[in-house]
Amino acid sequence: MVSNYLKSVLVVFPFIISLTFFFGHSIASEIGVSEDTIKIGQWSPQTGPAALWGSVARGTDCYFKMLNAEGGVQGRKLKQYIRDDAYQPPRTVGAVKELVGRVGVFGFVGGVGTATGMAVKRYLHTRKIPWVGPASGSSRWANPPTRYLFALYPNYVDEAHILTSYAYMTLGKKKIAFFYQNDDYGKEGLMGAIETLKRYGTKLVGEVSVEPLDTDISSQILKLKMSKPDVVILWLLPKHAAMTMGAAAKMSFKPLWMTTSTLSDAPLMYRITKGLWDGVMFDSFAELPDSKTPQMIKYKKAHDEHAPRERWGMFFYAGFLFAEPMIEAMKRAGRDLTRESFVDAMETIKNWNGGIGHSITFGPNQRQGQRSTFLGKCEKGVAVRLSDWLEVKK
């Protein structure tokens, strides 16, 4: 009995092994790339405190569906694997290991969160897996540059620089206060603002922080009010920003509010603040929702077709934006796509304006793809563009 079993195993096993070798070799020369598909992974908070930003991954999904309907990339269809990490770094690690080990993805795109991304940055780098467009403006993605990680989102330091100099130089507001979330996200913004003002030989009139989970911000608002600023720059979660508007209106504190691209979804903010968001200035790294550039019109059509139930908002089409250079590089790498040839192709992208971002440039030691944003303003619930693309002057 046993020997029979053993015999059959001995016969069948080498056969299977040789079979997989035979086919394995003819089908793909790179993990995650086969004759007709490319597997791409993405982690995303579909539940939990940051679930609002989960639409980024669904945006990328819509983008891939659009591309597949057009025939895919170099004859291959894109297959996206979304994993929910609930904005918790340990779950991100689990999801990424599963996608790398079990699914065998070619690379990753997007990925919401600074802490979540930091938890897998090393892992992806040591395994030489490409990762394009983390959905966070941390300066640590591209600084120092690493071979397989390409950042698109203008980092928070640059953003703060653009906002602060716009307030100080263009608008002539000399008294600027800063209200930030007490973590990497908020502190990078704060650092950018302080550095910029130092260059003009001045400093912030007030710096106030809030913890991510706080629900009572009245003493913070009182502190801001006492510093008597002309402008207050907000680096907060959408919820805190909305609460700030309420608390400030209550104390009849009416400075000019400015805020980062993370809060640039003007229609949403206008709705949840019941109109108090009116007049708030923000910067944005992607075209506005009702922009009429050909690319935006095309994407809006894809949205209507493939994901009509999603709100056509900033976070949703940011999912397109983070994946655009990846697709461009895949096209440039040609039919013979490997991770190495992909990275080399990414590095040939220079001043690229084929998407909804602006002037994307990568290079051998350049991993921050986009460095420019423009200013916008919320007018009666509609995002209105105020300036042309502004670049960081260093």
């Binding site: 939990g48 609002l52 706080d214 629900t215 003493s219 913070q220 609460m243 949403l268």
Partner: protein, 293 residues
């Protein structure tokens, strides 16, 4: 300087009243079953979402939607007791507390699935932006309402437990379950009702807090922790204790934020828990209850 100090205290009292309301809800369950209910926050959150659906989706006026919400929360509380706590075989206290944690996760998941994670503004007729300026100190209409409702509910509950038959039966069940049953009290029903009542108070708190914190599945995470701290501070078995504890916590937190640092403002609540548990484990206003054998 005096005006700012008064403003800080007023803001603290306003937020403290919110904590106090949730603390009251916790205390009711703790009084009758010695169970710490960690699902309290999510029960309130789900009730608030129900109110939101009635108001925003079905356009029902607040005056009708609010009682409907209360009715829903009463039933929700009773169902949770019936479905999750009652079936527990020979439950230990710790076991029951873990069950409430499970309920918390279920409700959180359901809310995320049903209403989504996008923050919503709660259409309340009581406005946080309509303000009264009392000699330089700004207080909103909502702040006043929360304060008044908190004091009112505390008094009502106090009278209920002291003088009504049902209230006394609840207290009796808490002190000696077996003896209460022998005296003809339907102890199981009493427990169900306790959960219902507690969920109802939680719903009141949720509806009052929602205009300030905005509505999403996470709205109760921080208030629940603060309410827990308030209840510990005031004494887990004392209604006035919960109210006073909430008030003190709100004010201390704001004073700390104003004079010392906003970074550690929230930590104050936990320092208070630790200090109270070390110095006066039964809380400020509760007598230490020793079971006599």
């Amino acid at each position: 300087m005096l005006i700012q100090l008064s403003q800080v205290i007023a803001s603290g009292l306003a937020m403290g009243s919110c904590y106090a309301l949730i603390a009251l809800a916790m205390v009711i369950i703790y009084k009758t079953s010695e169970v710490l209910n960690f699902a309290q926050g999510e029960m309130a959150m789900v009730s608030t979402f129900i109110a939101y659906t009635l108001l925003a989706t079905y356009d029902i006026p607040f005056i009708i939607a609010f009682p409907l919400t209360l009715l829903f929360s009463l039933i929700l509380g009773m169902i949770i007791e019936f479905l999750f706590l009652r079936p527990a075989k020979d439950p230990t206290l710790l076991g029951l507390i873990v069950i409430t944690l499970g309920v918390e996760m279920i409700l959180y998941g359901v809310a995320g699935w049903k209403w989504g994670a996008e923050t919503k503004s709660f259409p309340s007729p009581i406005l946080d932006t309509k303000v009264y300026n009392i000699k330089g100190v700004v207080v909103s209409q909502l702040n006043i309402w929360v304060f008044v409702v908190c004091i009112g509910l505390m008094l009502l509950l106090f009278l209920f437990f002291r003088f009504s038959k049902l209230g006394v039966a609840m207290k009796a069940t808490a002190q000696n379950h077996m003896a209460a049953r022998l005296m003809g009290i339907r102890a199981k029903r009493i427990l169900s009702f306790t959960w219902g009542l507690s969920a109802l108070i939680g719903a009141v708190a949720g509806v009052l807090i929602a205009p300030i914190t905005l509505l999403d599945p996470n709205m109760m995470v921080d208030p629940l922790l603060k309410a827990f701290a308030s209840a510990v501070l005031g004494g887990m078995t004392s209604m006035p204790g919960a109210a006073v504890g909430g008030g003190i916590l709100g004010v201390v937190e704001n004073l700390f934020g104003w004079y010392v640092s906003t970074e550690f403002k929230s930590v104050v609540a936990f320092v208070i828990i630790v200090v109270v548990l070390c110095v006066r484990p039964s809380g400020l206003l509760a007598r230490h209850y020793v079971k006599k054998v």
